[in-house]
Structure formats: structure tokens, C-alpha cells
Symmetry: C2
Subunit: 752 residues, 2 copies
């Protein structure tokens, strides 16, 4: 069964010591509990903290400080754009100064962190040590490089590859760190499989040398075939990535059909089986690790909540409980944004018997309760209904609303989109078609206006209404770009290529909307959109690895391969400005632009290497212009990115889809839902459907079928609904979850 | 949690009606129960069956009948080798005659099956209908083709592609059928993802047409770049397989760095995300389907066992039970090979209180109990000890045995293997080295003889001792081949290349033994070997699909591309004998031998297409020599094999490794093990270790450390051990599990 069972086995299993403090929210709750207790009972709690410390802590967690830190990290990382080999060259003094400034900022941030953290915890934390070491090493490197530069000796600044350390290790990047930890934990297991795999490759290489080495075979390029053991190992390693299949086989296969069996066996064992085993090992570790982290998290949560309970408890009868007023004050302090109706709902759930207090078991659930996103569905009247009720309720207006709510309206627009697609496929040079474009744009704008007229605007642009936002933004952008294009065109009598490109892309993106008309497609797309934020974590992970490899690549390969205009056919241009490439596959395939001459180009080359195809051509080319050992750089990149990171990515997508397939509501969500229904403030399933569709698409229509259900509901005011679909993973915090320290520090009552 | 829980939810969930009868063993038990009941109580059971029917049924299940059926299937499939385009041409009359013979055999088999199956069941079974339709269609096709041939009109024999139907649908190929069912069940889910994926490709194609179509760009070959929407769709489809990355990007990328973003976005969305989603969908369905099948199986088993119980039950006290004698007779009838000590063990487990009868709950476990492989470890004396005890127990002999059992012995041989590897890497032309080869061979033979001297030969060549078998066979084969080679060499003064190739391969395979000296490697390799038999199922599946595609490919493409000797450089040879290929990538890469001119070549081409790399070159080449529509053949092949079958294969490996990682003993195995320990006939864990190592490698040594544990144990005689490690999947029947009907029909007592 996929997914992770929250809380299972927590009591039985003492989890491993946490690597960092993940239960920040409970930490806040605990702090808040200390204050609530102080204010209410005026008693001394066994918990050491001072208002100054709290203020410092909150300042540390303040959003401006975070933004400033990220800004400095960005500046530090972007320095690679300005340093030699640069996209935008700047003198060394300027970049060095900027780097020193960044290092100073990082040091200050670290000192600040040390002040708000117990000393023991601070020094035990590897990531602080990491940052410190990196700062010191970078400074030393900078000084050495600078002093050598003044005497005109050019050395290498290796520490540039260490810059992503800051991105990883500042406490804000917990997600990337988790991904790295996952990789680190996978390493031992993967190592043994990798060694076995290497052994297999070596055995096959030996066999190839014996079988084909002395046949005098030639490759298609006329080079000797399989005569050197090192070359064979490299070729067979490339074959694992399938990049040189079937070329590597052809000379032997041309000799005899039977030799194809050797290669087929090799591919089955090494490409299919071993690569799948790598995926299995990575995936297995990924799941195991995820489970462990969640176990630790749950344990810590419980522990903190018990501490908070012990601070606030009073004895009623035989058992310790927390008074209702205390409970409310605490909840308000922790989550100041909470509406009082929502709070009331939570209280009803926690204080089942309405006895005026919350017992221990229910108190421990507080953080979980606050964490569940209960959407307060405010079925407000349409503003127009409030302002001009006579007009809005007129029969013409009601007819318009009915039409917009009807599914035929959606179908009509689907047809319009399809016609638009055909027009796009046609040549837009014809004046009639370029006028048609204005017509389509007008139709889309009318659609949005009609929907805004019919549905409540704040509901229409709700936080979860991805497609409405998408629609509107695309249309507005298209409007702006098309207008700009037309202006430029009429003023200067020529098309601006850049603007036209944007207009074209926007025009085609509009077609995407057809998808969401089809239910089965919507499910898949919704899952993909839901995992989007966590996929960004992988973006961060890949960026870190790419950055380090790009810096090394630039140091080693820059300037070795040059790009000339493709129409330029001088002999120099044909070999990418490097005679060593003469006759190579690299030059033949015109790969000159795939070089390490600046950061942007390096990233594109690394992307190509990640996709794997033709990577032996790239590796071979760069080995020709430097040294055969340069191939190690490419092999290392392949191991790190393709065998490790891509497999983790696949594991992540697999797990995400399995969870999506078997998504059930958690126990606590069920409890809330029950209470919502009990209290009669719930939206029925069909209403939810309707509500969602109202917001999304307006295909389902309850008012059209006769009864004015929607309007009568609207007058009742407030409804609740659990936004459970927005929580695709129980393991990964959803992007809307409050940030560390945010909850507490935004409670002004607490600090005043 | 991976793996499948046997029996969970069976009571709650009525499974779907089974698609075929999988619980054949229980069917046998039921039949046996009917007979035992007849014999013992001489009463009429409510179960209709006659000795004639049983005999017919057993004849149907007899191994000779199976072998004959498989033989005819092989003949039928291998006809493709002799038909035009043929590897070994035969006249049409011969192949047609052979085919008619095969069809007759299949019909006879089917009629036989109809006789032993209830009519309702027979006609409801799709696979019987399938076979019948295929036979009829093939006959009609054969007649039409034959009559047209007599008037010299050449038509096409399409039904040749249907031949694998026989391989799939005869009841013996249950595994392949299960895999096909798995694919069929996955289709609806995969279809929607595929449509969405196609939509995405189309959107990107439209965008590419607009962005790049009117720039006048040229590819590296000088062809116009992205001007035709159909070509763009094909190129972008190829990009999903990564086969034309980065070539497809280069012209746009050369124009501007920004256009690389278009391709990177495309690759992330379509290659990484969509392909992972395909894997997720396939994997999820695979697991779901596996779970359902096992649920059905468990339900059916239970049902049959209850029927059997009802036949045999007698009333003792207040409850119905089965008498011990009846139970024994039944077990003996079902599993005649069972040793009486093993039977006694099972009885002790079933009749916990030794009351002389077996209650219902324990009776229902009978089939499971019989299914668990309890290895009767017969710690026999070494035969030499029995024959010449004085010599075998002499101090010299004991010393030899100690040395062989010592781990240094293993290490010494590891070193010898490594030295051997170095010698192999050196040139074997030198006479000294070719003498060394004889020395190594002698050393290996001595090793095997020494081990046979020390360990009991029957234990050494036990059924599970894969590596001992491997070792011995490799050495014997090497001995034979090397001798043959030396004979040929000395007689004819030249090396026979074929024999030398075999000698070389055998020599290198010997090096594999180093792996098993390392514990961590052994675990991985053991898992791989355990899943080997089930992997053969995939071999069958792939073969069926390949065969159908190969036949179609041969009809469409044969003779279009011809292979010339690679040294032959006439203009005709350079374009593979087809002027249409002039200037194509296909001809440039010298892919002439990748053709559909016979079955063997077709299979190799299809293998290359499965590996995907350069498949656009192959597809493009064959499209050039026939028609652009031929690309559809290659796209279809990609969808079927790469998107479906390869993903199922990966899913299978993932599941296998997850199960291996979390392998625990089932409840019933634990019960048996407990009883084994209780009865004091168990081998302790360390003994098992020792026993295994004794069999495998002899690294652990208990006798060397002073006490003669091994010998004292040996005198006690019989020990039991559960061969649980040999059952890597609870879902897939292990290859040693008795075949359908085998158990019953091999019970001679029952039929006499």
C-alpha cells in the first residue's frame, strides 16, 4: 500500500533523533502556551524564555530577513554570470567585492541564528558548520586568487562550486535539504549495486576485447573497433545509457548475426535490469526515509503538545484539562487569522461534551486541527445584487446568468477554442485571419466578463481556482501583447519578433483550456498541478548540482569550443574553432553551441547530458579538446544526475500518483467533517461539486433546473468544507502551510 | 507497504468471478477427497465424476501431451524461418503442409480439452474461442493464398501474425496470459494519459510551427527545419524518446539561447513527467491486478477446500472433523512423493492436540501446508565415510577437509580467479599464457574435486545450489571446449574461431564466481536469480509481440534494404541497394544490416527499436524506401513495447525488489517452523547458515573451531528447514510448484 500512515507505530517505536527541528509549529504553540499561562494564572512556568529572546527570535523569522537572505544568496549565485568566463563581464574587483558583501551577510545571519538557538543545538548542527567552513574557505580562496591576480598569475577559483552550499544550508531551504538527505541515505545501498554493475560492465568489456579485438573491424567512421580495453569500457558504459545503440553493435553485427546476441544480453542485463534495480533501490530508500521523517515529526509534535498541555493544565475532578477560555486564547495566539466561527467549530470538535474544558487527548490534536484547511465557504451575494438588486434580478439578467451557468455555454466556448486552433494552424499573414484574432480575443474577454457577472468575483478568484486565474492572466497578457504588437506594427511597419513570439505562445496556451472540459483529463492535470510545488524542490536540487558542475565545467572547458554563425562555413567554423575536433562526431553534428563558455550555455549542455542522448558525442568532443580524462567529468555527472536524481524524481512522481490513486481522508479530517455535518453548516457533496464547478467552470447548474437552491443557500451565509484535495501528500508540507515562526510572530497580542 | 497480503479481506470481499480456474491444486484435492471418501466410507458423494473422465483428464494433463503441444507450437512459430522472406527457404507446399499438421494437432488438443471440461465452462472461455477462430481464419487464408499461388498471383499471408495466439492461449501458458491480462486492464487508464500526452505534443507542435516555421532555418543536414506540422509532430514524438536530442534543438538554439527554453520545457513535461506518469499508471494497475488475482485465488482455494472437507467429514462430539487416517490418505494421494516423516510433521501441525482427527480450520490449511517447501535436510554421511571410513577419517583426510572448509581456501581461489583475469586480459597468443590456461583449468577442477571430497555430493548438487551447478558446468564445458580447441589446433594448425569464441566466453564467465564471495553482492544476485524464471514470462510476452510485428514488418519491408559486405564500397552498397536512401542518416550510419529480410534480422531490428536510441533513423530509413505512413508502424511498436511492456517489466522488477526488501515469513510458514522447532528436528539458525554455506561455499566452518558439530548432527539423520527464500513472490507461482493436474495424476494408487 502506498502512502504513509501518519502516527502508526509512534507509541511503539522511539524514532531516531531528529536531524533538525521540524516541528516548528508545535514550538510556537509551546511558546504561546507559556505566555497564555503567564497572562492567565500569573504563575511561573518551568520554561526559560524572555521577551527579548522572543523578539530576537521573531525578528530572525521575520519575512524581511528571509527575503534579504535569499537576495544575498541570489546575488552570490548570480556572480557566475559576471565572472570570467562571463555572459556579462565585470572586473574582478567588482565581483570580489560583491562576494565579500554576501559572505558578510551570511555571517551576520548565522550569528543571529546562533543568538536565538541554544548553544548545544547550534554547534551540533552540521549545516551551521558547513556554512562556516564554506565562508572561511571562500575567503581564503578569494584572497589567494586576488593576490595572484595582482602579480598577473591566473589561478582557479574552485570555491565557486561551493556557493550552492549557502542555498542548501540556510534553514529556509528545508525541502532541498530533505532531498539531499534522501540522496545521502540512499548512497550506501546504491553503492553496492553500482559496484556490481561496474563488475558486470568490466566482465563484458573483457569479453568484448577477446571476441572482437583482433578481428580488424572498423567502425562506421573507420576507427579501429574494440581494440582498447579503456575505450571498450567507455563505449559499453555509454551503451547502458543507450546513447550509442545500435552504432556500437553494427561492426560486429555486420560480421555475423550471432554477435548481436552478445549486445542483446548486455542490454538486457545492464540497461534494463540494472537500471531498474537502481530505480528500485532509490525508490525503496525514498519511501523508507519519508516514513522515518514523518514518524520523527509525529513524535516531536506529540512531545511538544504534551509540554504545552502541562503548562496550561488545571485539575477538574480527577483529570487534568485545559479550560475552554485558555484553549481559545491559545488558538487565537497561534493562528490570529482564524475566524471566530472556524474557532467555534474546532472547539466543538475538541470539547465534544460541551463541558467547558478540553481534555488531554483532544488538546493534543490542536495543532493538527489548526493545520487542516477548513475552507470557510462564504456563499456571499453577488456584489451587483447588493448594489443594484433590481437590475441584477431582472428577467434579462437572470436569463444571462442561466445561459452562463448552462453546460452548453462551456461547450460553445470549447468549439470556439477549436476553431481558434484551426485559425492558428493557418498562416496568420493573411489580414482576414489577423482580424479573426481580435475577434477571438474579444470573445474570450466577453466570456470572462460574463462569468464574473454570474459568479461571485471573490469566489471566482479564490485561492484554489487555478484555471480561472490561468484563464484571466493569459487573456490579459494576450491583450497587452497583441495591442503592443499592433502598435509597433502600425508605427514602424514591421513585426517585433520578440513580441510576436510571446503573442503566439499566449495564443496557443489558451487552447489548454479544452482539457479541463473533460473530467478524466482534469483528474490527471489536477494531480500534476498539485505536485507542482514539490516538483520545484527538485528544480532547486537540480539547480544546485548543475551549478556546481557548471562552474567546474567552465573552469575546465571554457573557450575550447567556439560557436560561429551557422551560415559561416570557414574551415575554422566547421571544427568549432578547434582543429582537434576535425572529423569528430561533435563537429559533424554541428554541436559548437554546446559549450561551457558561459553559465547559460553550460546549463543547456548539462540539460542535454541529463537527457542522455548523444552524451557520448559531447563527452567525446570535450575529451578531444582537453584530455581523455575529461570523460570522467561526464561519467560522474551521469551517475549523480541520471542514476540518482532522475530516479528520485521518478520515485517522487510514482509515489505522488499512488497517493493520488488511494487518497483517503485522515482520521482527524473525518472527525472535523462529521462535526461540520452535525452542526448543519456543511455543504453537501453535490453542493461541493456545484460549488467547485461554479468556481471552475460552471458546467453543473442547480438553479437552471427549477429550484433556486443556490440563492437560498447563499442567504444562510457561512459554510465549511475541508480542502482535502489540496493536500496530495501527507509527508510533504503543502506550500500554503505557515512558515516557521510565522504563526507566533504574527500574533501581535502576544508581543504587546 | 509493498507486497500482497495473502488472504486479507477475503471474507469481506466477494472477489470478481475468476477469468480462469487457477486453483487447480485444490481441484485435485477435491477429486482426491471424493475418491478417498468412496474408498473409505463407500458412500455416494454429491460429486459427479467417473474413472473414465478422470483418466481422460489425467491423459490431457500428462507431460507427454504437453510436450507434444509445445512441440507443435514451436514448429508452427518456426515456420516463419522457412517461408519467404526466409532464412532457410522451403517451397510453399512444405510449409503449408506443416502448418495444416500443426492446426490439426491444435484442433485435436482443443477437442480433448472440451471433453474434460464442463460444456458451459468451455464455451464461456475466451481463449478457446480465440484458438478456434484463429484456426479457421488461418485455414481460409492458407487456402486463398495457395489457390492464388497456383495461378501465380502473389498475395499476403496476414494470418502468420496470428500464430502467437496459440502460444498465448493454450492453457499451459498461464503466465504469459496473466501478463497480457495485466496489459489489457491497464489500457483504459493508460489511454487517457496517452491522449493528454498527445494533446500536449500537438500543442507544442503548433507552437513550434509558429515559432520556428518561417525563420528559414536549416537542420545540420541542410533540410528545412520545422516547416511541416506532420514532420514537427513526428520529430517531437521522437524527442519524447530522447532519440533526437539535442539535434532537433540545435538550429533554433543556434539562433538564440532563449529558444532552448522551449525544448527544455517540452522535455520536462513530456519526457520526464509524462513518461513517469505512464510508469505510475502501469505500475499501479499491475499491483492492483496482482492483488485481485491473489484474492480470487485465495477465495477459490478456500471454497474448494470446504467442498473437500464436506465430502470427508465425520461427526466427533459436537463438531465435524476429518479422521487422521483419512487425512493421511488424502495427503498421500495428492502428494505421493511426500516422505512419511514430512507427512508426520504436517499431521502434528494440523492435529495440534494429537486427538486423532483434524478439525475444519486445520483441514483448510492442507493445500497451503503441502505447498510450502519443507526441505528434508538429510545430513547424510559422506559416501566415502561409509565405504572407506578408515581412510576418510584419517588425520590427513581430516586435514584436507579442514583446509577446504576454511575461509582461506575460498580467499585463495578468489586470488587465483583475479590472477586468471589478468592473464585473460593479456594476449593469449603467447605460448606461456596458453599453458597457464591449462594450469588454471586444472586448479579449478582440483577445487571442485576437493569440495566433493569434503561435502556430501548430493547436498553439494542440491536443487537450490545454483552456484555449485554453475561452477561445475562452466568448468566441464571449458574443459571440453579447450580440449577440442587444442585438438583442432594441433591437427589443422589453425584456431577454429567458433570454438575459440566459446572457450573465451566460458573463461570469462568463470570470473563471475568472485561476486558470491561478497555477502552484499550475493543478496542482490540471489534476488535477480530468484526473479529469473518469472522474467522468462516477459521473454515470452516480448517474443509474442516481436513475432507479430516481425511478420508484419517482413511483409511490408522485406527486400527494400539490402546488406552488402562492409568492405564493399560500390555506390549501391553505400545506399543499402536502394537509391531512395541516398543522403539519408540510415545509409550514413551504415544500418544496411538492420532490415526485415528474415526473421532473425527482424528480431534484431525490433530489439534496437525497443532500446529506442536512433529509432527515428531506422523509422526514417524504412519510411524512405516505402512510404511516410510506414512511420506509423514504428510509432505503434514504440507505444506497445516501450510504453506498455517495458514499463510493466520495470514495475515487475520494482515490486520484486520491494518484496525482497521486506520479505517476511507468512503465518503458516511460522506455524510450521514453530512445530519443527518444538519437535526438535529443526536446524538452528547458525546451522542453517552453515548448511547453506557448506553447500554454497564452505566459508563458515564449525568443525574447524574444535567441536565436531557437523558430524554429530549428521548422525541424527533427518532435519527440516523451510525453503522460504526460494519463494520471492507470494503472487507468482514458483517454477517448482507442481503443474496443473500433475499431483493427482501421479498418484498411481488412486487410479489403480
Amino acid at each position: 500500500m502506498p502512502g504513509v500512515q501518519l502516527g502508526s507505530g509512534v507509541q511503539r517505536l522511539r524514532p531516531e533523533p531528529p536531524e533538525e527541528l521540524p516541528a516548528q509549529e508545535e514550538q510556537n504553540l509551546l511558546l504561546a502556551a507559556a505566555y497564555v499561562s503567564d497572562a492567565q494564572y500569573n504563575r511561573n512556568v518551568p520554561f526559560q524564555t524572555s521577551p527579548q529572546a522572543i523578539r530576537l527570535y521573531c525578528f530572525y523569522n521575520h519575512w524581511t530577513m528571509r527575503v534579504v537572505t535569499y537576495l544575498f544568496i541570489c546575488v552570490d549565485l548570480s556572480l557566475a554570470l559576471f565572472e570570467k568566463p562571463a555572459l556579462f563581464p565585470l572586473p574582478f574587483v567588482a565581483t570580489a567585492l560583491a562576494e565579500v558583501l554576501c559572505l558578510a551577510a551570511f555571517s551576520a545571519r548565522l550569528v543571529h541564528f546562533a543568538k536565538v538557538t541554544p548553544q548545544m543545538v547550534f554547534w551540533k548542527d552540521t549545516k551551521n558548520i558547513c556554512i562556516m567552513v564554506t565562508i572561511v574557505v571562500t575567503l581564503i580562496d578569494l584572497i589567494i586568487y586576488g593576490s595572484l591576480e595582482t602579480v598577473y598569475i591566473h589561478s582557479i577559483r574552485w570555491t565557486r562550486a561551493l556557493r550552492p552550499v549557502f542555498l542548501i544550508n540556510f534553514p529556509e531551504s528545508r525541502q532541498i535539504r530533505r532531498a539531499f538527505r534522501s540522496i545521502r541515505n540512499t548512497l550506501p545501498d546504491i553503492l553496492y549495486v553500482f559496484l556490481l554493475f561496474l563488475f558486470s560492465v568490466l566482465m563484458f568489456s573483457l569479453m568484448a576485447l577477446k571476441l572482437f579485438g583482433d578481428r580488424g573491424l572498423k567502425t562506421a567512421e573507420g576507427a579501429p573497433y574494440f581494440t582498447n580495453i579503456l575505450e571498450i569500457v567507455f563505449e559499453l558504459y555509454v551503451l547502458v545509457t543507450t546513447a550509442n545503440n545500435p552504432d556500437v553493435m553494427m561492426p560486429a553485427y555486420n560480421l555475423s548475426w550471432w554477435y548481436s546476441l552478445y549486445f542483446i544480453t548486455y542490454i538486457i542485463i545492464n540497461t534494463y535490469i540494472f537500471m531498474s534495480v537502481f530505480l528500485a533501490v532509490v525508490y525503496n530508500n525514498y519511501r523508507k526515509h519519508l516514513k522515518n521523517e514523518i514518524r520523527t515529526l509525529v513524535y516531536l509534535k506529540r512531545h511538544k503538545m504534551i509540554e504545552a498541555f502541562d503548562i496550561l493544565k488545571v485539575k477538574v475532578g480527577t483529570e487534568f484539562v485545559v479550560k475552554e477560555a485558555t484553549w481559545k486564547q491559545l488558538a487565537k495566539a497561534v493562528a490570529p487569522d482564524i475566524s471566530s466561527s472556524h474557532l467555534e467549530l474546532l472547539l466543538r470538535i475538541s470539547d465534544e461534551g460541551q463541558q467547558g474544558f478540553v481534555d488531554k487527548m483532544n488538546f493534543l490534536r490542536l495543532a493538527d486541527l489548526l493545520n487542516i484547511q477548513v475552507v470557510t465557504v462564504n456563499l456571499r451575494r453577488h456584489p451587483l445584487e447588493a448594489w443594484v438588486p433590481r437590475v441584477y434580478q431582472s428577467s434579462l439578467s437572470l436569463l444571462v446568468q442561466r445561459v452562463v451557468r448552462h453546460r452548453v455555454f462551456v461547450w460553445a466556448y470549447d468549439v470556439i477554442i477549436l476553431i481558434n486552433a484551426i485559425f492558428i494552424a493557418l498562416d496568420e499573414k493573411h489580414p482576414f485571419i489577423s482580424y479573426a484574432e481580435w475577434l477571438f480575443l474579444a470573445l474570450y474577454i466577453i466570456e470572462i466578463l460574463l462569468k464574473l457577472y454570474t459568479y461571485e468575483p471573490r469566489a471566482y478568484f479564490g485561492r484554489k481556482q487555478f484555471w480561472n486565474w490561468f484563464d484571466t492572466l493569459i487573456i490579459i497578457a494576450a491583450l497587452v501583447a497583441t495591442t503592443a504588437n499592433a502598435t509597433v506594427q502600425s508605427a514602424r511597419k514591421y513585426n517585433s519578433r520578440q513580441i510576436l513570439d510571446i503573442v503566439l505562445i499566449l495564443r496557443i496556451l489558451r487552447l489548454l483550456r479544452v482539457i479541463i472540459s473533460i473530467e478524466r483529463f482534469r483528474v490527471i492535470v489536477t494531480t500534476l498541478i498539485n505536485i507542482g510545488p514539490t516538483m520545484l524542490t527538485f528544480g532547486g536540487l537540480v539547480f544546485v548540482v548543475y551549478y556546481a558542475f557548471a562552474v567546474i565545467g567552465m573552469e575546465v572547458f571554457h573557450g575550447k569550443v567556439r560557436f560561429f554563425d551557422p551560415n559561416f562555413t570557414s574551415p575554422d567554423a566547421l571544427v568549432c574553432g578547434n582543429p582537434a575536433l576535425k572529423g569528430s562526431a561533435f563537429a559533424r553534428d554541428r554541436y559548437c553551441k554546446n559549450n561551457f563558455n558561459d553559465l547559460a550555455s553550460s546549463f543547456v549542455v548539462l540539460m542535454e547530458l541529463t537527457v542522455v542522448n548523444q552524451w557520448h558525442v559531447l563527452a567525446g568532443g570535450f575529451a578531444l579538446v582537453t584530455h581523455q580524462a575529461a570523460k570522467l567529468y561526464f561519467i560522474l555527472f551521469h551517475i549523480v544526475v541520471v542514476i540518482l536524481i532522475v530516479n528520485i524524481f521518478i520515485a517522487f512522481i510514482l509515489e505522488a500518483f499512488f497517493v493520488a490513486y488511494s487518497l483517503g481522508k485522515s482520521e482527524i479530517e473525518t472527525a472535523i467533517e462529521k462535526k461540520i455535518q452535525e452542526l448543519g453548516v456543511g455543504i453537501q457533496e453535490e453542493d461541493v461539486q456545484d460549488w467547485k464547478l461554479t468556481g471552475n467552470m460552471g458546467t453543473r447548474d442547480s438553479t437552471f433546473s427549477g429550484n433556486d437552491g443556490d440563492n437560498t443557500k447563499a442567504s444562510k451565509g457561512l459554510y465549511f468544507r475541508i480542502a482535502s484535495k489540496s493536500r496530495p501528500f501527507q509527508g510533504t508540507p503543502s506550500p500554503e502551510a505557515p512558515q516557521e515562526g510565522q504563526l507566533l510572530c504574527e500574533a501581535p497580542a502576544l508581543l504587546s
